[in-house]
Amino acid sequence: MEPTSATMPIPVDWYLYLSAVLFLIGAVGVLTRRNLFIILFSIELMMNAVNLNLVGFSRFHEDMLGHNFVLFTMAIAAAEAAVGLAIAVALFRNRQTLMVDLFTRMKG
């Protein structure tokens, strides 16, 4: 199978590279940042990297199933973002901060 086609001017590799870079940025953000909001954004970034991956392959295979997947994922992600933000608000009300390294109650 050719890397490029009439329906796909940009080769699928580039989608994958971009997706991988976005995912890594997101992962590093989750691991290193202390602010809960930034972490949530980073998670969003990782999710969208995956979405991009799916869309890219969908186009490559000329199969709309990938699109369906992505639409579902986005809907769920919206709900998840709402829940995540609600948790962030509740946490802030409790602790007056969103710096996750201060949330150490689980420490053994």
């Binding site: 691991l31 996750v100 053994g108």
Partner: protein, 632 residues
């Protein structure tokens, strides 16, 4: 008879269960009714059994169900009624009934009233099981159960440290004897392959067993009897057992439980008769105990302790009789002793009751006119114990001495006669110190002296009549009703020993006269020392200071045990406690705990509580897995 035998022990058992369950909240101060009724029922049924078994050649055996069934080890829960157990049934339920009634007055108002009656009922059940058993294991059950009840009841006033210690002592000393008894029962099973009395005796009679084995069995069994019947050197628990309430002393530590050893030896008469050497040991220990305890009894100040040593001494007489093969006479003395010793204890209880708990005879005196009913009944008991014609003790004790004489054991006879003299002396010393002379009461008690209630006096009178007339059950020679009655039980043993019925000879009358004279001398001496010349006891005591001190301290037997066995046990246990329990067992447990603690300390570093650290772990792990899967 087969139909109702099981009811005899079960009635008190039912009374025990109900009283224990409902006594505290519901029955309370009415707790005496049920046990007394149950006891009366048992007594009635025992009477019926007695009438039916009279003259029967074969014992009646009822097997209720199989208790143990392991291979060839078959033990039924069976009951055997023959003449011997029927006599014991009558003594236990009869004297028990009288003492139950007495306790209503004596224990009145006690906080543990229901508890007292519950344990007394349990004791009655255990004792009746003991005498009804048809095999050695069931006998052992009853044997241990009466020991347990004895422990409960000695420690009845558990808030008193002495009472708690006395209960413990009784239990532990009995354990020494029971150790031997348990081994004896095992040896019986190993030797005969069964524990049923009838089969065991049949085999032993047929001479199927070597004499050395029989010697081993009988010695071990007798060890149990020594513990339970307080024979030297295991006698030390009985005087301390006087810490229990007086009715307990009367029922358990005078009339019934302590005679279990005598009953057991008499029951195993065939075995003992087949090992004559052991019979000699039995007679020797019995005789020694008889005089040993009697001597200690002279110097005791506590009225109940005098009686306790007297009980030890009288049990010695019973073993003396068993030692010469006079089984029926031993049982006869057991019966009369149950009457007069229960009477003496209950009478002493009545005195103690009248004085509001005072037991020291140095603080009594002059009570003759103030509690006359107690006085007269107690004197009847004292005359019976001293062996004065025609009171019960005369017939039975004289029968024993006569049997010893006929057997040619003149040394035992002489010692027994001296013991009889001492018995009369200490008994009347007690009477004179309590009822005669000037009052030595405390100011407070002086005003409160009162005669006991009817519920206490009626039992005293009943027992006084029994102690006075009971001796005519066992007139010597061919006239003896009880000897004749028991003949079917003891005939095989007598046959082995070659004993025959004897006719009274002139020498028997001489012996009787001698023993009465000796007893009279004892009484006169007591009268002279404690009524006529009250200064004399102190002078004699001062003159014989070292001897007096030794006797007063009970020959230092307790001290000897404390310095040897107890010390070894305590020191050894302390050593094991520190060196093994603390070092090894605790060390292992603590070491294990310490190990997990160290591991935990190391492991807790991983749990930083920061989500991102965990996430890092997840990512690294994922990376590793993916790498492995992809590049494998």
């Amino acid at each position: 008879m087969e139909g109702y035998i099981w009811l005899i022990p079960v009635l008190p058992l039912a009374a025990f269960v109900i009283t224990l369950l409902f006594g505290k909240w519901w029955i309370k101060e009415h707790a005496h009714w049920l046990p007394i009724l149950a006891m009366a029922g048992s007594f009635g049924l025992s009477l019926a059994a007695f009438v039916q078994i009279r003259g029967a050649e074969e014992p009646v055996v009822v097997e209720l169900w199989r208790w143990f069934s392991v291979g060839s080890f078959q033990v039924p829960l069976g009951m055997q009624v023959d003449q011997l157990s029927s006599v014991m049934l009558l003594v236990v339920s009869g004297v028990g009934l009288v003492i139950f009634i007495y306790s209503k007055g004596y224990m009145h108002g006690d906080t543990g009233y229901y508890r007292f009656y519950a344990y007394m009922s349990l004791f009655a059940f255990s004792m009746l099981m003991l005498v009804l058993a048809n095999n050695y294991l069931l006998l052992y059950f009853g044997w241990e159960a009466v020991g347990l009840c004895s422990y409960y009841l000695i420690g009845y006033y558990y808030h008193k440290p002495e009472a708690a210690a006395a209960g413990k002592k009784a239990f532990i000393v009995n354990r020494v004897g029971d150790f031997g008894f348990g081994l004896g029962v095992m040896l019986v099973f190993v030797t005969f392959g069964t524990l049923d009395y009838l089969k065991v005796f049949e085999l032993a009679e047929a001479g199927a067993v070597a004499e050395t084995t029989l010697i081993g069995i009988t010695l071990l069994l007798f060890m149990g009897a020594m513990g339970k019947s307080a024979q030297f050197p295991l006698h030390v628990w009985l005087p301390d057992a006087m810490e229990g309430p007086t009715p307990v002393s009367a029922l358990i530590h005078a009339a019934t439980m302590v005679t279990a050893g005598v009953y057991m030896v008499a029951r195993s008469a065939v075995l003992f008769a087949s090992a004559p050497g052991v019979l000699l040991v039995v007679g020797g220990i019995g005789t020694f105990t008889a005089i040993f305890a009697a001597v200690i009894g002279i110097c005791q100040k506590d009225i109940k302790r005098v009686l306790a040593y007297s009980t030890v001494s009288q049990l010695g007489y019973m073993f003396m009789a068993l030692g010469v093969g006079a089984w029926a006479i031993a049982i006869f003395h057991l019966v009369t002793h149950a009457f007069f010793k229960a009477l003496l204890f209950l009478g002493a209880g009545s005195v103690i009751h009248a004085l509001g708990g005072e037991q020291n005879m140095d603080k009594m005196g002059g009570l003759r006119k103030r509690i006359p009913a107690t006085y007269y009944t107690l004197v009847a008991g004292a005359l019976a114990l001293s062996g004065i014609f025609p009171f019960a003790g005369f017939w039975s004790k004289d029968d024993i001495l006569g049997a010893v004489w006929r057997d040619g054991k003149y040394l035992l006879w002489a010692v027994g006669l001296v013991a009889a003299f001492i018995t009369a002396f200490y008994t009347f010393r007690m009477i004179f110190l309590t009822f005669f002379g000037k009052s030595r009461l405390d100011e407070d008690t002086e005003h409160h002296v009162h005669e006991s209630p009817w519920s206490m006096l009626v039992p005293l009178i009943v027992l006084a009549v029994a102690s006075t007339l009971g001796g005519f059950l066992g007139l010597p020679g061919k006239l003896g009703l009880i000897q004749h009655f028991l003949e079917p039980v003891f005939a095989p043993a007598d046959h082995i020993l070659g004993l025959h019925e004897y006719s009274l000879a002139a020498s028997d009358y001489v012996l009787m006269v001698v023993s009465v004279i000796v007893a009279m001398l004892g009484i006169v001496l007591a009268w002279y020392m404690y009524v006529r010349r009250v200064d004399l006891p102190l002078k004699v005591g001062a003159r014989l200071q070292p001897a007096y001190r030794v006797v007063y301290n009970k020959f230092y037997v307790d001290e000897f045990y404390a310095a040897t066995f107890v010390r070894v046990a305590v020191d050894g246990s302390t050593w094991v406690w520190h060196r093994f329990d603390e070092a090894v067992i605790d060390g292992a447990a603590h070491g294990l705990a310490r190990l997990w603690q160290v591991l935990g300390h190391a492991g807790r570093r991983l749990q930083t509580g920061k989500v991102q650290h965990y996430l890092l772990g997840i990512f690294v792990g994922l990376f590793v897995i993916v790498t492995v899967v992809v590049f494998r």
